[in-house]
Subunit: 202 residues, 2 copies
C-alpha cells in the first residue's frame, strides 16, 4: 500500500486558510482527508467525538504531550489543541492524504519531525485586504486589530520556510492551486514507484 501525503496548510490569521480548506474538501478528491485535532476544550452543541475533535481531559492531554504523542500542539488560553501522531500516521499508512490546517507555530513544529510533508502557506492577497478582513470581523478592539496586523506581518515573513505560497485573492482559485500542488507532488519522481523491469521485452 502506498503512503499518502501529509499536507500542511497554514497562514496568518485573516489569510483565509479555513475557507480554502473547506473549498478544497468540497472538491471530493479521492483519498483526501482533513485531520482531526485533539483538544481539552468542552464539546459545543453539535460537535462529535472523533469528527469535530478528539475531546480529552487535561491530564490525559498532558500525558500525551509527555509521551511525544503529538505532531504539534499548542495552548490557547486555558485549552490545549494538538494533532495526534498515531491518528495521522495510520491514515498515511493506509494511503490517505491528510491535511493539517494549522497555525504557523504548529506548522514549524511539524516541519521538525515531518520534513517530508508538503508545506503550503496561504498568503493574504495584500496588507489592505488583510486589514479589511480583520476589521470586518467586528470582534476585535482597535488595540487587538493592531496586534493582529503586527503578528500577521511577522507570520508573513515565516512563509520563507514553506514549500509553496498560495495567494488567496479568490477562494476557488486558491483551492484549485492547492489541488494542483497535491496532484503535482504525487507525480514527483521520488514519490512514483515505477516497475522498470516490466517494460523489458522478454
Amino acid at each position: 500500500m502506498s503512503e499518502g501525503l501529509l499536507i500542511i496548510i497554514s497562514g496568518p490569521s485573516g489569510a483565509g486558510k479555513g475557507t480554502v480548506c473547506k473549498e478544497l474538501l468540497s472538491m471530493n478528491l479521492p483519498d483526501l482527508e482533513l485531520s482531526v485535532s485533539a483538544t481539552t476544550r468542552k464539546p459545543r452543541t453539535g460537535e462529535l467525538e472523533g469528527i469535530s475533535y478528539f475531546f480529552k481531559e487535561k491530564e490525559e492531554f498532558v500525558q500525551m504531550i509527555n509521551q511525544n504523542e503529538f505532531i504539534e500542539y499548542a495552548q490557547v488560553y486555558d485549552n490545549f489543541y494538538g494533532t495526534p501522531r498515531s491518528y495521522v500516521q495510520n491514515k498515511l499508512d493506509s494511503g490517505k492524504d491528510v491535511i493539517l490546517e494549522i497555525d504557523i507555530q504548529g506548522a514549524m513544529q511539524v516541519k521538525k519531525n515531518n520534513p517530508e510533508g508538503v508545506f503550503v502557506f496561504i498568503m493574504p492577497p495584500s496588507f489592505e485586504e488583510l486589514k479589511h478582513r480583520i476589521i470586518s470581523r467586528g470582534t476585535d478592539s482597535h488595540k487587538d486589530i493592531l496586534k493582529r496586523l503586527h503578528e500577521a506581518y511577522r507570520e508573513v515573513l515565516l512563509s520563507r520556510n514553506y514549500d509553496y505560497i498560495v495567494t488567496n485573492d479568490d477562494v476557488k482559485t486558491a483551492a484549485d492551486k492547492v489541488r494542483s500542488i497535491i496532484t503535482a507532488e504525487k507525480c514527483k519522481l521520488q514519490r512514483t514507484k515505477i516497475d522498470y523491469e516490466s517494460y523489458k521485452e522478454d
Copy 2:
C-alpha cells in the same frame, strides 16, 4: 516582468507525449505556448514558417549549431531538428511559459544547459499497452517493432533523470496532471516574489 517556466515534456515513442501536449494546449492556459522548432526538412503542404517550424537551409543550421544557438538539436536521417535558444529565451523573458515537446536525447541536452526547467516524463501505462500502440500503428516491420520496444525500455530507465513522471493511462487525466505541475511550480517558494515589506503596518 516575471520570467516564465520552461517545461520539457518527453517520453518514449508510443507514450503519447504529442497527444498529451495537444490536450494541454486545448485547455487554453494563459501564457502557455508550444515552442517552435527549426528544421532543415522541406515544408509539407499547409506547414507555415514560424508556426509549424522555422525552415532553414542545412548550411545555416550547421552554422547555428556551431554558434551554440540551439538548446538541443538532433539529426534524424538526412534532416536536422533543433530548438532555437533565442526564440525560447525571448518567450520566457516576456513571461510566457514555453513547452518543449522533445525526445529523451533532446531533453537530456536541455537539462545540461537549463537545469531550472521543469522536466516531465510521459510514461506509457504498461509494456503491454506500449506494444499494442506501436504495433497498431501498422507502419513498422516485426524487426522494427522489436527495436522500438527495446529502445522504449532503455528510455523508460532514463525517466530517473526527470522531475515528474506522468503515466498516460488516459490523455485527459495525463494533461490535467501536467497542468497541475505547471500551476504548482508557479506556487513554489523559490518562484514567488513576495513584497514582504508591504505587509508591515505603518
